[in-house]
Structures are given as C-alpha cells and as structure tokens.
C-alpha cells in the first residue's frame, strides 16, 4: 500500500471511529461511580478466623461473592463489590442512604452451628440440665442463685428463674470466667472457633468492652475501628470451649424477648455437629401452629444424614433417662435439646422428643428456627442464611455517604474542568505550533471523543479521580505531538525538506514516545493492581488514555500531515511555528544555548535549599493528614434554617458532638447554610441519629446530608498499598530503564524521583495542604510523570552520545538538554494548563488531586532537567573513556568548553557538530569553562 493510500485509509478509519464514538457518546449513558451519582461506599478489612488463621485468596473471593449475592438479596441492586489488595473489600451501593443497613448486609458473618445441647454443657448447667453431673443438684442450684443475685439479677425478675433452674450464667463475665478454666482441645476439627479473647471493664460488674475476637490486638478497636484505651481485663477462652448467649422466651406468647439485659449465658464444649454449610434453601415462613414468622430450611445430603444421626442419639439418650414407659409430659422433660447457634447466640433450642422421634428426625423435611421473630427479622435471618457464612471476619474501616445532588454537582464540575482543560491545551498548542498546533488540537479532540466512547463501551466506571486521570492524559496525548513537532522543527532548521522533516520527525520521535508511554503504562498498571478503589479509576483511565493517545497523537496526525503534504499551506512552509523551512544560518541555530552543566551547581544549591526548607517544615509543622489517615467522621449538612455554628453545636451536643470541630462552609452543591462537622469516628447508627435529630429540630435541605467515616486501619492500608505501589513501580521502571538505557541511567532516575516525592512532601508540610488518599494516588502518578519527562531527556542523551565521539559527557548532556528544553517546557505548560483547569473548575474533591499534580509536575520537570541529567553527567564523567576525553580537551585547548561545538577539532572536521539534521549548529562563542 502506498504512503498516500495508507494515509487516506488511516484517516477514513479514524473518521469512522469518530462517527461511531460520537454516536456512542451521545446515545449511551456513562456508568458513574458513587462519587458522581451518590450512594454509600464501605471499605472492609478481612481478619483471620479460627478456622482460617490466614486470609487466603480463595476466602476473599468467596467473601466478595457472598457479600454481592447477600446484599443483592437484601434489596440492594447493582451493588459494587470488589477486592482491594490482599485483605480488603470495597462495597459500593449506588443510591443507598441507609449506612447501617449497608454495613450490616456486608459485615454480618451469619455463622450457624448446631449443637447437641445436653452433651456439650459445661459447669452448673451440666450439673442441673443433664444427668451427667457429679454434684448435689440442690447445692449447685443455691450457688447459681447466689451468683445471679451477686450479679444484680434478681431471681424473681423476668425469666431469670428459668435460667437459674437451667444453671445458666448471669453475665458474660461469669460465663467467660467459667470457660477460661476449661482445658484447651487440640486438634479440634469440629470447633466453631479457636482461642477467643474478651475485654472486660476493670470495675464490677465487669461489663464486656470488646470481644470475642480471635486476635488479642483486635480487642483494642471498636466495631468502627476506633482505638480503645488499653485498659480492662483480658480473658481468653481456650479452643474447644464456646460461650453462647440466650434470650428469654415469653411463656405466654412463645416469642423471644429481644432485650439483651435479660440474656443468660451458657458455656458449651465447642463440638458443633452441623454448620451453616450443611443447610440449604432457608426461607421465611409462618409457623402454622403459632402463626408466628419463622425460618425453615432443608439439609444437604450430608447434613440430612448428620442431622438424623445426632437427633437419633439425643432421642436414645432421652429414652435411657426415662427408664421405661413415661407420660408425654415427662417424656418431653427428659428429652434432650438440639441447639441452633447463630453468631454465638442461641436462636432456637428445639426438644428432640424421644417418644415422637425415637429414631431421630429425618432431615428430609428440613427444620425450622422459630420464636421471637417479626416478619422482617425472620426474612433477614433467612437471607443471611441463604448467602452462607463469611469465611473471614470483616471489619469496617471506612464508610462514605454521598448525596445524589452532590454527586451530580461533582460530575458537572469534573466535566467542566475536562472541557476547559481540553480547550486551553488546544489553544496553547495552536498559539505555540500554529498549523501543526491545529493538527494536534484536532487529534486531541478526536482523542477525547474516542476515549469517552471507550469509557461508555467497556464500560469504565467514571469517578472523580478518573476524570483527573483523563485531564492528565490530555497532557500526555499533547506531549506525544510536542515531541514529534519539536523533531520536525529541528529537521526543518537543519535544512530538510518539509516532507523529509515530517517523515524523520515521526520516525525519530516514535521510540521516545513509546519509551515514555511504557513507563506511564507501568505506573498505571501498578496503581490499578495495588491501590484503593478511587485510585483504581484514576489508574485505569490513565492507562487506557495513554494507549488511545498513541493512536490519535501519532498515527492520526501523521496521516493527516501526510495527506496535506502537497497543500499550499505546507508547501510554503507557512504556519509551522513560524519556521520558514528555507534554512538559513539563523534558523540553523538552536533556540536555546544554555550551559546547564555550568549552572548545575546553582541548581544543586537551589534544590538543597528547597529540600531543607521542606524538611524543616516537616520537622516543625508536620503533615496535615486528612481523615483518611487520622480516622474520624466528617458530616456535611445543609440546613433549612439559618443558624450559627454555636446553635448547631448545641443542637448536636446530645449526640455526643459537643466537642466536634464544626465550621460553616460554602458548598453550593449541598445548598445554603452548609456546615461541616468533624468528630471521632461515629458508627452508622450514631450518624443516622445525628441526621434524624438535625432534620427534626432544624430541618435538612433535600439531599443535604453527606458523611464519611474512616477507621484508623484504613489509613494504614492506604499507606501500605501506596508503599507497595511505589516499590513495585520503581522496581519495574528501574528494570525497564536498565534494559533500554543501561544500568548507569537508573541511579539518576531514582534520585530524580526521590527529589520529586520529598519536595512535594515538603511543600505539603509548608503550605499545610491536606494529605488524603487522593494525594497519595496523585503522588504515585507524579512518579510516572516525572520519569516520563526524564526519559525524554535521557533518550536524547542516548541518541547524541555515539554522535559525539570526542565530547565529554557534560557536553553531550548540555547539547541534549538544549535540544529538548523547548519540548520539556511546552509539555509542562500543556499539562499544567489542564491541571490548573482541574484546580479552578474541578470542585473540592478534585482540588486535592490538582494540587498534588501541580506540585508534582512542577518538581518533576525541575528534577528531570536540573537534577537527573547533571547527576548522570557527573557520574558518567568518571568512566575512563570520558576522563580520557576531558584530558585530551584540556591538553589540546587548555580548557574544556561547555559545548562540544566549540572544540577546535570540531571546527576542523565538523564531526563534533554531529548529525547535521538533528541538532543545533555550533555557537559562535561559548563560555570558557570547565565542565
């Protein structure tokens, strides 16, 4: 296929793609993330269970499936459940407003166990409830009664008398004390748990503070992950023993009394006969005898057999106790029980009547859990049983509730920032490159349309960080054109024809672009794999955008210019950044002739000062960590009444927010009279109470309530995933650079990155910007971007090195940097223009991203030009070959000029001028300086 035909084919292909993309963009709605459409987002951290001492990949996958199916069954549609790293799960529920319900559906473990009650009882219950005891029942009864009285629970109150008769313990403290004295059983394949820890208050009545937990450290965090004071008494219940609670039943109605104050406690040998995995088809039904809601279920084949075996054994033991024929009432009293225990609470304890079920109960007809349910409770239990037990424990580490109106406003702001950013970059390119800029702007617009279509087709869930990634990729896409156009201009200056200049420009630019884009792709990949959900969107758009930009910025523009090569505008060389392609002496000169290496000491001192100021700020002021790292709850509310901060404080004082940080904020997305309340982490029910209280007393505007809660472990996991992302990014990128450029190039690159990150941290400390998980993501991206810039410079150094066989390394670097300086500055401006648009129009959330990107891109450009390259030069100068060149220059000229073009020998044989087509020609004079 000829060049012209190929160009036309490519253009037609891109045109077709654009038409299809435009139709998709208009017709197909985008999938929006929670931050853009409102809803609830939870982050859960998996903790090992006794059966699963380590959180495995398989357990995490199963947990994700269970949560997804479980929450869907609970009426939550389109729930987004995904894994975050090795031990975290993100749950997004679009449109949801009930944080408590969302949390319950995601974290309730629903562990169901079936016990032979009498044969597993321990302590007084065993003495009184079975014929297996060895003590005098009356004495035991008296002791139990005394224990209940001592615990402040009078035998005459409620159903206490029944529990005392059964030998139950009056408090968790008593039950756990009894359990701790039991021997540890090992191995224990039928145990529901291994060692469990409980934390009680020091003073009587020793109320339970936390537990049971498998890891002692978990005692010091509440359900929301808030640290608890390391006080109190820790008790350990050994493996093989389990403490269960049981609520009393109203004898009149047969229903369970749902009052935890009236619960009794039993200690059992942890010898579960069946588990939740042995049942199937749990359903909410109505008991035909009592007309009360209940939960029925069938057994699996294995469960059915086990059920019959155990009920037969219980029946036979009951029969043995009867010693002959007895009346039905006595038979019922002598029969044993089968206990159904859900999450350490007895939900049902049916009697296995040996007269009615002498051969046990055939599990074919299933079984039921009844008593104490209303329809909702029974339905909920049935749903939990349907989804199965979570194989791991899940702790809530962060939660966020975003109202629909705030999401819409964020979307509007993000799109506005995107459009303005795109237009500003196009404008810059047109002003800077004139006709080539117009071509580049067309490519950018094509890029934006194709990319938006891809977002809708794949589909990529569009999030605010994703929009930030999109804006950044516009800069990357523009840079591909800038690299090529600068090459074209160089070739034109060198006297090439326009056709030849364009052809060479693309040919020489493409390897640089590929190197730089590979680095961005590697960073995006690592970010995607290791980061939190918000950052994943950012990484994905960055990666896909980079690939699309290769099509539009390289293939499309090359074909467009190729087809226009015979047009007047190009033939006359008009409008190509003002470059007349008729080469003359003035044109041949490089625009820049700056002695970078000579000024390197100045730049080094500048860097030292910047870093020292940053280090001082870090030491004295520290970083301003947001709630992502510090943990806490942030509520944003728009009120119907115009009240003061103090009036609001008084209104929420009863909800425990008297000491909260409250401030009036200007947030048009929320509405007027907006306030931000920041406090220690509140649990979902507390947040709901605050919302209800404010709505009742002051009135909350429609969609005017948002909350975010973060536990301390969330910040740790963000930091850990950031550290891992950084480590693996650097590892991959270092490997790539070593492979493409050689080992010596890697150290300066790493030093440059270290600069960027430390300078950015210093600036954050100095100016007090808030550090959030978004900042971490932006910093990680900076890492890729900074490398991108450095690679452009190093690529030119690598290209020039063999062309300058007599030059010192500093001379090679000086020439290379002068050649790419225009490109570096143009790229920085084109990227910063987009970021500034993000900063101005992107709203509150994107501001954090934009600030981090602004700081990072600036320091990245600085370190690429003024740190990494001089370090490379200083290091390479030590190589014997370059030392020899320095010595030769000193001997022949008496000094080492800044530029190789000033060498006498270069002027004689013209060799040091290098490739006439790709570099600045010798300067007339240069500083007589050693470099």
């Amino acid at each position: 296929m000829g060049g012209r035909r190929r160009n036309i084919f490519v253009l037609l292909f891109v045109l077709g793609l654009l038409i299809v993309s435009a139709i998709i963009v208009v017709k197909k709605p985008a999938e929006l993330g929670l931050d853009l459409q409102g809803g609830i987002e939870l982050t859960l951290q998996a903790r090992p269970t006794p059966q699963l001492p380590e959180v495995t990949n398989e357990a995490m996958e199963r947990s994700v499936d269970i949560i997804r199916s479980g929450c869907n069954k609970l009426g939550v549609s389109e729930i987004e459940v995904s894994r975050l790293g090795p031990d975290q799960i993100s749950v997004g529920i679009p449109g949801a407003t009930d944080v408590g319900g969302a949390t319950d559906c995601a974290t309730t473990p629903a562990r169901l166990y079936f016990y032979d009650w009498q044969n597993n009882l321990v302590g007084p219950a065993k003495e009184l409830g079975t014929d297996l005891g060895s003590q005098d029942p009356d004495t035991v009864q008296k002791q139990v009664r005394q224990k209940w009285i001592a615990a402040g629970r009078l035998p005459t109150e409620g159903q206490n008398r029944t529990f005392i008769a059964e030998g139950a313990e009056p408090s968790m403290w008593d039950a756990v004390n009894l359990a701790t004295g039991q021997e540890r059983v090992e191995p224990c394949p039928d145990c529901s748990s291994s060692d469990r820890y409980y934390l009680f208050e020091d003073k009587e009545p020793h109320d339970l503070i936390a537990g049971p937990v498998a890891d002692r450290q978990d005692l010091y965090f509440d359900a929301q992950g808030n640290p608890l004071p390391r006080q109190g008494i820790v008790k350990k219940v050994p493996q093989g023993t389990v403490v269960v609670s049981e609520l009393p039943t109203d004898p009149a109605t047969g229903r369970t009394i749902n009052d935890p104050e009236q619960a009794a406690y039993f200690v059992l040998e942890d010898n579960a006969e069946l588990t939740g995995s042995d049942i199937k088809d749990p359903q909410q039904q109505t008991d035909p005898l009592t007309n009360q809601p209940n939960v029925t279920f069938d057994f699996t084949d294995k469960g059915r057999q086990a059920f019959q075996t155990i009920t037969r054994r219980i029946a036979q033991e009951g029969q043995a106790r009867a010693l002959g024929q007895v009346d039905p009432q006595t038979a019922s009293a002598l029969s044993g029980n089968f206990a159904i225990v859900l999450d350490n609470a007895v939900v049902s304890r049916p009697i296995i009547n040996f007269q009615e079920n002498a051969d046990g109960i055939d599990g074919r007809t299933g079984a039921q859990i009844s008593g104490g349910f209303d329809i909702g409770g029974a339905q909920e239990l049935a749903e939990f049983l349907q989804r199965g037990a979570l194989p791991v424990e899940l702790a809530l580490t962060s939660q966020s509730q975003i109202s629909a109106s705030l999401g819409q406003e964020a979307l509007d702001q993000g799109v506005r920032a995107l459009v303005v950013g795109l237009l500003l970059v196009c404008l810059f390119l047109i002003v800077f490159y004139r006709f080539l800029g117009v071509v580049s702007a067309l490519a950018l617009i094509a890029y934006a349309i194709i990319f938006l279509a891809l977002i809708k087709v794949i589909p990529i869930t569009l999030t605010l960080p994703g929009i930030a990634g999109l804006v950044l990729t516009i800069g990357v896409a523009a840079d591909s054109n800038i690299v090529i156009f600068e090459r074209v201009k160089e070739e034109l200056r060198a006297g090439r024809s326009l056709v030849s200049a364009i052809s060479l420009g693309y040919r020489r630019g493409i390897s640089t672009i590929i190197d730089a884009n590979v680095v961005i792709l590697l960073t995006a990949f690592i970010l995607f794999v290791l980061s939190t959900s918000g950052v994943k969107g950012f990484a994905f758009t960055l990666g896909v955008g980079t690939l699309v930009s290769l099509l539009t910025a390289v293939v499309f523009t090359q074909s467009l210019l190729g087809t226009m090569i015979n047009t007047k505008i190009l033939r006359r060389g008009m409008g190509i950044s003002g470059e007349q392609h008729e080469a003359n002496e003035a044109d041949k000169k490089a625009r820049w002739h700056f002695d970078f290496m000579g000024a390197s000491r100045t730049f080094f001192v500048m860097s030292a000062v910047i870093l020292l100021i940053g280090g001082g700020a870090l030491a004295t002021k520290g970083l301003n960590f947001g709630i992502d790292f510090e943990s806490g709850t942030r509520i944003e509310v728009s009120l119907e009444q115009d009240i003061s901060v103090e009036e609001l404080r008084a209104a929420v004082a009863d909800e425990g927010l008297a000491d909260a940080k409250i401030q009036a904020v200007d947030n048009p997305a929320l509405g007027g009279n907006s306030f931000q309340i920041q406090s220690e982490t509140l649990d979902p029910s507390q947040i709901a109470t605050v919302e209800e209280s404010l709505d009742e007393n002051i009135g909350i505007s429609t969609d005017g309530f948002n909350s975010t809660s973060v536990g301390p472990t969330f910040g740790q996991s963000v930091a850990r995933s950031a550290g891992l992302a950084m480590f693996f990014s650097l590892l991959l990128i270092t490997g790539y650079i070593a492979l493409r450029f050689g080992g010596r190039f890697t150290a300066p690159v790493l030093i440059g990155i270290l600069h960027d990150i430390l300078i950015a941290l210093g600036i954050y400390a100095l100016l007090g910007f808030e550090v959030s998980s978004a900042t971490v993501a932006a910093f990680l991206t900076i890492l890729g971007y900074s490398l991108y810039d450095t690679i452009i410079v190093f690529d030119r150094i690598r290209e020039n090195e063999p062309k300058m066989p007599r030059a010192t390394y500093s001379q090679v670097v000086n020439r290379s940097m002068n050649e790419v300086l225009t490109r570096s500055l143009a790229t920085t401006v084109s990227t910063l223009v987009g970021v500034v648009a993000l900063l101005i129009f992107g709203g509150e959330t994107l501001t954090a991203f934009a600030i981090a990107l602004l700081v990072g891109i600036s320091s990245g450009t600085y370190s690429s030009l003024f740190i990494a390259s001089p370090v490379l030069a200083l290091w390479k100068e030590r190589e014997p070959a370059f030392r020899r060149r320095r010595r030769q220059q000193m001997e022949s000229q008496g000094y080492i000029p800044a530029f190789a073009e000033e060498l006498e020998v270069a002027k004689v044989d013209g060799e040091e001028g290098g490739d006439a087509g790709s570099g600045p020609e010798p300067a007339a004079t240069g500083p007589k300086r050693r470099v």
Binding site: S600, R601, F604, V605, S607, A608, V609, L611, L612, G614, G615, G616, L618, A619, T620, G622, L623, A747, I751, L754, H755, L758, L761, G762, V871, L874, W875, E877, R878, P880, R883, R884, R886, R887, M890, R930
Partner: protein, 92 residues
C-alpha cells in the same frame, strides 16, 4: 516521619558535595549513599538516645541528621580517595 526528615536532610546536604572534588567512592551516587545513610544512622541514634518514637519529631530530629551526613560523606570520600587510580584522576 523522622525517617523522611533524615532522608530529606541527607539528600539536601548531598547536593553540596558537588563543591568538593569528586574523589568519592562511586562518584556522586556513592556520595549520595554516604550522605543519606549517615543522616539516617545519626538521626536514628539521637532519636533512640532521646527515647522518642518515629513520629515524635521536631527541629532536633532535623539537626540530628547533619553529623551523620558529614560522617557518611567523609567516609565515602576517604574510601574513594584511597582507592583512586591516579591515571584517571578527575581534573577539579
């Protein structure tokens, strides 16, 4: 946070090694290792002596890295000077 501060101080002061003739073992990169390593070590020593945690930082944390930088950089310089091949000495 203390580690970041020592890293910053070590890196910042390393820049000044360009004013010293390059006799460092491993050149400017060797000097960096010495500077940063020294800063980290002396910072850590002072922090341990004061019985502080890594997040308990102030200006003393910052200053504690300086002696280590000097010692580390000098050590690398000394090693480099001893092992330098006179034929390829850099002209300063």
């Amino acid at each position: 946070m203390a580690i970041v501060i020592w890293l910053i101080v070590g890196l910042a002061l390393w820049h000044l090694t360009v004013f010293v003739p390059d006799h460092f073992w491993g050149g400017i990169v060797g000097a960096l290792l010495g500077a940063v390593g020294g800063a980290l070590v002396s910072g850590a020593i002072v922090q341990v002596i004061l019985g502080r945690g890594l997040n308990d930082v102030d200006m003393l944390t910052f200053l504690a890295a300086i002696p280590g930088f000097l010692a580390g950089a000098y050590l690398i310089y000394w090693i480099g000077e001893r092992n330098e091949d006179p034929e390829f000495q850099l002209q300063d």
